[in-house]
């Protein structure tokens, strides 16, 4: 477990915690952007360069901007009068802690069965391209249709309804 791994872990977990604990919604969105960047660094550390750059491009370049636009359009930066956590916060926290405990137990219990250090895979973009058109062409086309449907659906859902028309 190298120093780089611990540094990236600290950055990502700090970003995640900040995004769930801060009061100001825009600060939460910016903190989760830091967490996305930390995850991109994790992917680069794991020799998955294409996934790392795609993570930055899609999540920081698109999803984070979507989230801040939604916060702006719904006046999310006003602090609610009853506090930022819901009434049932304790049970939510307990469930999340239980999930983490179970996952952690499962990982540590089976840690001896996990493979150790493996050689670094050399993945070129050409191989990814050939895999996308060869073996994974059906998921690619389905994701294309899904993105089109999501685009049209999001536009229809968020469109202003004109008075008198349905």
């Amino acid at each position: 477990m190298s120093l780089v791994f611990y540094l990236i872990t600290a950055l990502t977990v700090a970003g995640g915690l900040a995004s769930m604990l801060l009061k100001n919604t825009v600060h939460c969105a910016l903190a989760v952007t830091v967490a996305f960047a930390g995850l991109a660094f994790f992917f680069l550390n794991l020799d998955a360069q294409f996934a790392g750059f795609a993570q930055i491009l899609v999540y920081i370049g698109a999803v984070a901007i979507l989230v801040v636009f939604a916060i702006l359009l719904t006046k999310g930066s006003e602090t609610p009068k009853d506090g930022v956590f819901s009434r049932t916060w304790l049970s939510g926290l307990a469930i999340a802690a239980a999930v983490f405990a179970m996952l952690g137990w499962a990982i540590l219990h089976t840690a001896s069965m996990l493979p150790g250090a493996t050689p670094v895979p050399t993945v070129t973009v050409r191989q990814i391209g050939q895999a996308l058109i060869g073996r994974y062409v059906l998921p690619l086309e389905i994701v294309a249709v899904l993105l089109t449907v999501a685009l049209i659906g999001a536009v229809i859902v968020a469109m202003h309804e004109k008075e008198g028309t349905k």
Binding site: N24, I56, I60
Partner: protein
């Protein structure tokens, strides 16, 4: 001798790194390249600021700055001293942390793009296999910085400017990516060094630059349009136009932070021009085969400065586009042309007859241009042009 002149900067870098023990030499070489980039491009920024003010002045039939040095050459130094010594005013209700971080993030994102640009033969900081994807990932991060700047100022004009700028940048980001995907398709790699090497061949003295093909020319024009929109330059500078929105998203910034925004905008302009020359104009390759004795990095920087001059020329000549006009332009005209360009490039690649494919590809592109243009103009009921002269 010619070889040495071409590689002189690489040799200098290796010589400087040779003072350190062998284990540290790789990191030292990377550090020296990064330091060189951080020193050279702000110097070019000073040159570009002078060029812009003089050039715009001459285009507007006035002299530019001519007081500070001979022909105003020391004006950028005066500007730098002014912005460093101005008071740094932060509004009382502004969000201090985000207000501070926004220009920092913008400048960092702008400089990161230079890491994958090949500025000469063997002169790329890191030769990534997915270099173009890295470049666009860094460009996408700068949009968030613009939003942070506008939101943290707690100012209606800043917020409006930031929203307009972000909407414009995400629309033209799609166009930017699609117009460069056609180059990736024909070169067969996302690595920028391989794209330049595939353009570094000569037939009868003429280079194989992608701009000299129909799909390359169309791609270059669309890339140039998207590049001016991405860097918020005229004619797409509604988010920062002085007569529109005070100063847009950098209204509430003064002193050094404003200078950082200015630096970030010009460095982004350099970086995107650098990418444009790499993709379409052949990067560091010479225009004719008998000119290859001139060092490669001189060619790269000359093409870069030529692109900067074209940016300044467009700023001085073209009027500003309105927000809805520029969004319509992006989504309804340029984006379909980009997609059609991909198909035309495929036709070019697989058509056998060498001369017929020029005719066919150019015809398809020109017909599409006319057709889409007619479809857009038909709704506008524009009458014939009429002139009115002063009596």
């Amino acid at each position: 001798m010619i070889q040495n002149l071409d590689q002189i900067l690489v040799l200098l870098q290796h010589w400087l790194a040779s003072f350190l023990p062998a284990a540290w030499q790789g990191a030292a070489r990377a550090f020296i390249s990064a330091a060189a980039i951080v020193c050279v491009f702000p110097a070019l920024f000073a040159v570009a600021v002078w060029l812009e003010r003089k050039g715009l002045g001459r285009m507007q039939n006035r002299l530019g700055p001519n007081r500070v040095g001979p022909y105003g050459l020391l004006q950028p130094i005066a500007d730098g001293i002014k912005s460093l010594t101005k008071e740094d005013i932060v509004p009382l209700s502004a969000d201090r942390a985000v207000h501070f971080l926004a220009p920092v993030l913008l400048v960092v994102a702008a400089f990161m793009g230079f890491a994958v640009l090949p500025m000469g033969r063997n002169m790329v900081l890191v030769d990534l296999d997915a270099g173009l994807l890295f470049y666009y990932a860094m460009g996408a991060s700068s949009e968030l910085a613009v939003f942070m700047a506008g939101w943290s100022s707690r100012n209606k004009y800043s917020l409006l400017g930031a929203m307009r700028a972000v909407a414009q940048m995400i629309s033209y980001e799609v166009v930017l990516l699609l117009s460069s995907v056609v180059v990736v398709m024909m070169a067969g790699s996302l690595s920028l060094t391989k794209i330049v090497e595939s353009q570094n061949q000569y037939t009868w003295g003429f280079p194989h630059w992608y701009i000299f093909t129909p799909w390359g020319l169309a791609g270059f024009i669309m890339y140039a349009i998207a590049a001016t929109a991405e860097t918020n330059r005229s004619p797409f500078d509604l988010p920062e136009g002085e007569s529109e929105l005070v100063a847009g998203y950098h209204t509430e910034y003064s002193g050094f932070k404003f200078a950082l925004f200015f630096l970030g905008e010009y460095v982004a302009m350099f970086s995107i021009s650098g990418l444009g020359t790499t993709l379409f104009l052949g990067g560091w390759s010479a225009p004719f085969s008998f000119l290859t004795w001139i060092p490669s990095w001189i060619w790269f920087f000359s093409k870069l400065m030529l692109s900067i001059f074209v940016f300044i020329w467009m700023r001085g000549t073209l009027p500003r586009l309105r927000q809805d006009q520029l969004m319509n332009f992006a989504w309804k005209f340029v984006l379909p042309m980009c997609l059609l360009n991909l198909m035309v490039a495929a036709v070019w690649r697989f058509m056998d007859n060498y001369w017929l494919r020029w005719v066919v590809c150019s015809a398809i592109l020109l017909l599409a241009y006319e057709g889409l243009g007619m479809a857009e103009l038909r709704k506008k009921n524009i009458g014939p042009r009429s002139y009115r002269y002063v009596e």
